[in-house]
């Protein structure tokens, strides 16, 4: 089972005719999907570094020299893949009725005493990368930390050179920020 890159490209763009989309949804999954996916994403970015793992619309983990970093399609770099990329984004917080009602007017408006809607933007291309609706005070959610080395080594059978420890380093950064304040 395999699909052409053209069909997959159109699938991701939402422009594949419905009968083909439905076929891809319904049939057994294609084994070469990940490799073609990466090729399609690689063709669409402005940089040359190898994409190792997509993280969302516009965001990928890439290999840059000996480092692995999160990078936006536009080229902006968000730092080491093991720390929450949101720490290096721009943030706009909808935390009062006026700002919330720009998106959620009237009856649809969350309670600003309890809830805030955080928007994370790329500081260069201003893409909206993530919308986070959380209780007031909740830490920025680290939505996904992929175990890249296990994936390549154990699931694809193609280990990556220079494997890196799989651990969340977000709090190393916030700890440093805390020391800056003190």
């Amino acid at each position: 089972m395999s699909y052409s890159k053209e069909d997959l490209r159109d699938l991701y763009d939402g422009s594949l005719p419905w009968h083909k989309t439905f076929e891809i949804m319904s049939k057994p999954k294609d084994d070469d999907r990940f490799d073609k996916y990466i090729e399609i994403l690689q063709e669409r970015v402005s940089y040359k570094e190898r994409i190792l793992m997509p993280l969302g619309d516009h965001l990928n983990v890439v290999q840059k020299g000996g480092e692995r970093i999160v990078k936006c399609d536009c080229g902006h770099e968000f730092g080491d893949w093991r720390q929450n990329w949101k720490l290096n984004a721009l943030i706009f917080v909808r935390d009062d009725t006026e700002k919330l009602e720009e998106i959620y007017p009237g009856l649809k408006c969350p309670d600003p005493n309890l809830c805030e809607v955080r928007e994370f933007y790329c500081p260069v291309c201003a893409s909206l990368l993530k919308v986070e609706a959380v209780p007031v005070g909740y830490p920025a959610v680290f939505d996904v930390l992929p175990d890249i080395d296990s994936f390549y080594r154990e699931w694809l059978g193609r280990p990556l050179p220079e494997e890196q420890e799989f651990r969340d380093t977000t709090y190393d950064v916030t700890g440093e920020w805390g020391r800056d304040i003190e």
Binding site: P54, D57, L90, L145, T174
Partner: protein, 731 residues
């Protein structure tokens, strides 16, 4: 200790067989110790035929129930499901329907085995058992299980069980799944795997009891007869299958079906996902302060955090962990570890194991870490509590799990599998129907929900309801026969959407007018615990849908309007000015409407909102927006303000068109606005940290964090690490 011969294989007791199979699984990692599942593979056509025959019997059984039952929950919405089980209660196959109960029904069977029913109660050919006690295993009392043992020549070779959601279980008003109840006695009738029939005949004393105890005894008893008919039909078909395939083949093949599915599930996980850690959080709101309950300590509003972490293991398994979950409370929304498995079951059959082969094997590669004792999902006081509605927070949690699974599919490139679910809440009533009978009154509308955007297209309008894969609201005309109301419209609500490059599906609000009831009390029916805090279901740059609403609208001059044949309210319209537009009073009654008397001509609105859009809304194709506007699914305000698309209506062609130049400009302005409004996260973090240090937040939010911190050192540590708080700081 009795020396009587056991009813299981070779004269063993069922408990012995269960214990032995559990040991084999522990030692080999394979279900029932089946290291080499060869029987089905030896003759695949025979194996397929065998499975198809079982499935056909279950689906035919389900349809049988629908023909016998008088309940619109069964006939219209098909809130039922059948499963077939091994002698020790392991699910082999399940029909379509509310598959949330597949493991829970098996857990009831295992409870009977563990309680030594075989010797102390008796398990005989032709017995009917009934259960609906969440303390044993279940979602809430309204879901009733009818369980039938299957014997072959004196040996117990399996069980068949049917679940039906009842219209009346005898609970405190509003009587089906009440919300203003706290103590277990208010839940209504509870059955703890009780025998209610023998020799294929329902006990007459049981019928007498139901006739006296339930307002809708006729519906309840017809449901039992429907379920029993289905169970007997399946049992007889299983006997025919055994006659045809042989008993040895049946025993081995049914167990291989479970082991084969366990292996397939691991293959699916490894094929479609990426190993790693996926995180979400669900806040659950329980507004009980104003509820008329007599257990006074319950009268407080609380919020509980339910963090959810999914670890996709390199070996191919999944682990779900709720570390950081808050404490239980005096309300009917507490869950149990078994109920959590209900959520796992229903999500699994809709996201990974949707090929009709789902069974216990689909669940074996999944580990659910037991929620801490005295948490919302594991109260030690569970026997004291009402458990009418634990699925309100549970559906939110499992909507979030679909979101996390969606991220994993997206990372692997299977974006067509990416989406998420959201649940909702609505009105529920008790009182007199059009025929003058007092009873619970709830009209279901499972098709009203909008699921999240898919990774390759918009979400299906009105197409997502986590609790059952089959989304069908039933016929309005039938519901009108059962509930004294007239449905005024079924219209897509543009403001229900979650915005994004791909938008979520839209929801359809319920808009009904009360008609011909002498006395009614309205209250809430909860399928969500989200109110002021909207769910974190935005996918990448997409927004989650906004707040959902319960509204009571009361006309000032309804008879006059009708006399003059003036239009009544048919849709919510723009959510800002409803109060100005409506000629009467508008009451926004919140997540749980405090029980209140409602009258002829009142309008009840349940306005669901959708899960999450996917991707940046200003990247949405403008042509899709005008197409939506032509169909009444997007408004000009949304096109302009959310999607930044300038449109105009072409009066001649009668359709909306895009002004491409103005759209480019509008989108450029939006990007510049983002750059000027946005601040570096570090800057925000520094300010926000001080706010956390000052405990500058609503008391309910503070108490929510304190509750989680009382139960979890790990949660406390992470919270402090993120905000770089001193070790001795206490929130």
């Amino acid at each position: 200790m009795s020396e009587s011969k056991g009813i299981g294989e070779g004269g063993k007791s069922i408990k012995q067989i269960m214990t032995e199979n559990e040991r084999l699984y522990r030692e080999t990692g394979c279900y029932a110790g089946i290291i080499e599942p060869n029987l089905l593979k030896e003759d695949p056509v025979k194996g397929e035929l065998f499975h198809s025959r079982i499935m056909a019997s279950l689906i035919a059984g389900r349809e049988t129930t629908r023909m016998v039952s008088g309940s619109p929950f069964v006939r219209e919405v098909a809130e039922l499901c059948l499963g077939i089980y091994t002698p020790e209660g392991d699910n082999i196959a399940q029909s379509t329907g509310i598959q949330i109960h597949i493991k829970l029904m098996g857990d009831n069977i295992r409870w009977m085995i563990n309680k030594n029913y075989e010797e102390e109660v008796g398990i005989n050919d032709g017995d009917f058992f009934i259960a609906n006690e969440p303390v044993i295993s279940g979602m809430h009392a309204a879901d009733v299980y009818d369980i039938l043992p299957i014997f072959w020549e004196g040996e117990l070779i399996g069980w068949v069980s049917t679940v039906i959601m009842e219209m009346d279980i005898g609970a405190v008003s509003p009587g089906l799944m009440p919300t203003a109840n706290v103590e277990r006695g208010t839940d209504g009738l509870k059955f703890c795997c009780e025998r209610i029939g023998s020799n294929d005949k329902l006990n007459r004393d049981f019928e007498h009891k139901i006739e006296i105890c339930l307002d809708m005894s006729d519906i309840f008893l017809l449901d039992r007869k429907g379920a029993i008919a289905a169970n007997i039909r399946v049992r007889e078909e299983i006997k025919r299958i055994i006659g045809e395939f042989g008993l040895d083949y049946y025993k081995r093949a049914t167990r291989e079906l479970i082991e084969e599915e366990r292996r397939n599930q691991i293959v699916r996980i490894r094929q479609r996902m990426v190993p790693g850690r996926y995180r979400g959080v669900v806040p659950a709101e329980f507004p009980m302060a104003d509820q008329p309950v007599s257990w006074i300590p319950a009268k407080r509003d609380t919020i509980r955090l339910i963090p959810i972490q999914m670890d996709v293991l390199p070996a191919g398994g999944l682990v779900l962990d709720f570390e950081g979950i808050g404490e239980w409370g005096w309300h009917p929304f507490n869950g149990t570890p078994q109920a959590v498995w209900g959520g796992v079951s229903i999500v699994t059959v809709q996201t990974l194991a949707y090929d009709g082969r789902g069974n216990l094997g689909s669940l074996l590669p999944i580990e659910v870490k037991e929620p801490p004792i005295d948490s919302l999902f594991n109260p030690s006081q569970i026997k004291k509590l009402a458990t009418s509605t634990p699925w309100a927070p549970l559906l939110d949690v499992f909507g979030m799990w679909t979101h996390l699974l969606g991220i994993a599919f997206y990372l692997r490139g299977f974006r067509e599998e990416t989406f998420n679910y959201r649940s909702s809440a609505g009105w529920q009533m008790a009182g007199y129907d059009q025929m003058g009978n007092k009873r619970p009154l709830l009209a279901a509308g499972t098709g009203y929900f909008g699921p999240g955007a898919c990774g390759v297209c918009d979400g299906v309008d009105c197409g997502g309801w986590l609790a059952t894969p089959e989304v069908d609201m039933g016929s309005a005309e039938v519901w009108e026969l059962f509930v004294p109301q007239m449905e005024l419209s079924h219209r897509f609500e543009p403001y229900s959407v979650g915005y994004g490059r791909f938008r979520s599906g839209l929801a359809v609000p319920t808009v009904v007018m009360i008609h011909r009831s002498q006395q009614l009390v309205g209250s809430g029916a909860l399928g969500t615990a989200s109110d002021g805090i909207i769910p974190n279901l935005g996918q990448f740059g997409g927004y989650p849908g906004g707040r959902r609403n319960n509204l009571l609208l009361r006309y000032d001059n309804l008879p006059e309007l009708m006399e003059k044949r003036q239009p009544l309210l048919h849709e919510v319209g723009h959510p800002v000015d409803l109060k100005d537009r409506f000629p009467g009073q508008v009451f926004d009654v919140g997540l749980i409407p405090v029980p209140t008397e409602i009258y002829e001509g009142d309008l009840l609105l349940s306005v669901s909102t959708a899960a999450g859009g996917l991707g940046d809304p200003i990247e949405r194709d403008p042509a899709w927006i005008t197409a939506d506007m032509d169909n009444g699914l997007t408004t000009e305000w949304q096109a302009n303000n959310i999607y930044c698309v300038k449109t105009r209506y072409d009066e001649e062609e009668k359709r909306w068109k895009v002004d491409e130049v103005a759209t480019r400009e509008l989108r450029e302005v939006k990007r510049k606005e983002r750059l000027s409004r946005g601040v570096p996260v570090k800057e925000w973090w520094q300010r926000y940290r001080q706010r956390v240090m000052d405990r500058d937040m609503d008391d309910k939010i503070l108490e929510m964090y304190q509750s989680s911190m009382r139960l979890s050192e790990a949660f406390t540590r992470e919270f402090k690490d993120f905000w770089a708080l001193p070790d001795d700081f206490n929130l």
